[in-house]
Amino acid sequence: MGSVRGLLISLGLAILALIVQATLFRRFEFVTPDLVVVVVILGSLNLRPELALVAGFIAGLLVDVSVGTTVLGLRALTYTAIAFIAIQTRSRADSSPLAVGVWAGLLTLVSVAFFLMVGVLFGQSAELGGQVFRRLVQVPLANVVAAGILAVPITRLYQLGARRS
């Protein structure tokens, strides 16, 4: 999809993902997908590369300003980098939801490692302390499932947006 409509869909999905994970998944300790990352990764499958990068950046910035503990721009950088890697490797994810899920899980793992590394470099070790296991294991695993489930409906949403534009 090459239109601004695609970008708006992506940002709308990112806001929805942020709200759902802030309210629904805080109730379940062991189910912790990072839905915003899933939206960014799935966006790279459906959007023009430049728009996917911009969507990743804005989605990261949105989470940055919402979280309030880590330095502004840390997630924007992380999500942009993940969108870039996703664009470069999207041919690996074929149309099967399972393949998309595994691919998204691996990218999530990379994003968490990148986030922790850059965060520590920028003096955020106190803010990132704790829950490292949860970040590195639970979140990527949960994202495998989330991406597998969401891949088809999100792709259809983008296709619908493209048809209308």
């Binding site: 802030a22 109730r27 309030g68 503990t69 302390g129 970040r135």
Partner: protein
Amino acid sequence: MMLDRETRRDRTLPTFISLVIFAFVLMTFDVRAAETDLAARVRSGALTLIAPLQRVSAFVIDPIADLLDSLSGLATLRAENAALRSEVARLQAELAGVEDDQARLLVLEQIYDLQLEDAATARTPANVLGRPDPTESSFVVDKGTDQGVAVGHPVVDQHGYVVGRVTEVSGGFATVVPISQDREGVTVLVGGQNGILSSQLGSDLLLLEVFDAVEPLRAGDLVVTSAVSIDFPAGLAVGEIVEDAGLEGTALSAQVSLFADINTLRVVLIITWPPEPGIGDPVTTTTTTTTVPGATTSTTGGEWGAFAASLSRWAWPFWR
């Protein structure tokens, strides 16, 4: 077609590099301009926009999640009820003894004409609305400057255990950062010794450092906020020492686990500290620390305040 693809590929890398540079500039600016309030204003503005959506979402989701919780816990409720009944009976017997001690204390205070300082602190109950990042411990609550909440105010859970501090605040919402994620340490008192409690990378436990230690600490020793702390009122329960810690010269360090379970918080109390008359109109006023594990809570303003105050009065003797 080929040319078109090449052109697009050419635009991807420059876009990526531009965004990365912009992100680094943003991060550098945020780190360097930490003392100014520009970044705080941006975050506060975002909080004002997003928090109402979270409130609506929580309004829809919480009852469903509560129902699922109740259903999953149905099998264990009977056994839990029996255990709670016996616990109530034991506590009632203990309470009778404590009331007797209190009466004697009152008489002794009158005999010796003791005047204890009464530093009243206002406590504002707030609902936890959401946690924007599932792996972050910071969370948003539904009270803000309109209710007298300000940046830096301490936050405790329904049992009176220290949770953290308010870091961002807008009209009706505030962001709370737990002490397990706070870059600033907390001055605490343990075994009669003052120390600094700070978070550690990669661990849910906090690190306690005592620089003028005179005696070792033992597992289970209680950690409370110190009277020399400028961020928290004295005497709030924080956590306990995880394992024995010996002296290393005149210093010692120990691991501390928090009492407050940050991940399952639904309601918190925001303390107006230091006490400042005229800031907002908090719901309730109390002078004590509440520590009633397992106590039920509701979230309606005045009733909640009265309930919390009565809990405080009831539980204070046990806590001491």
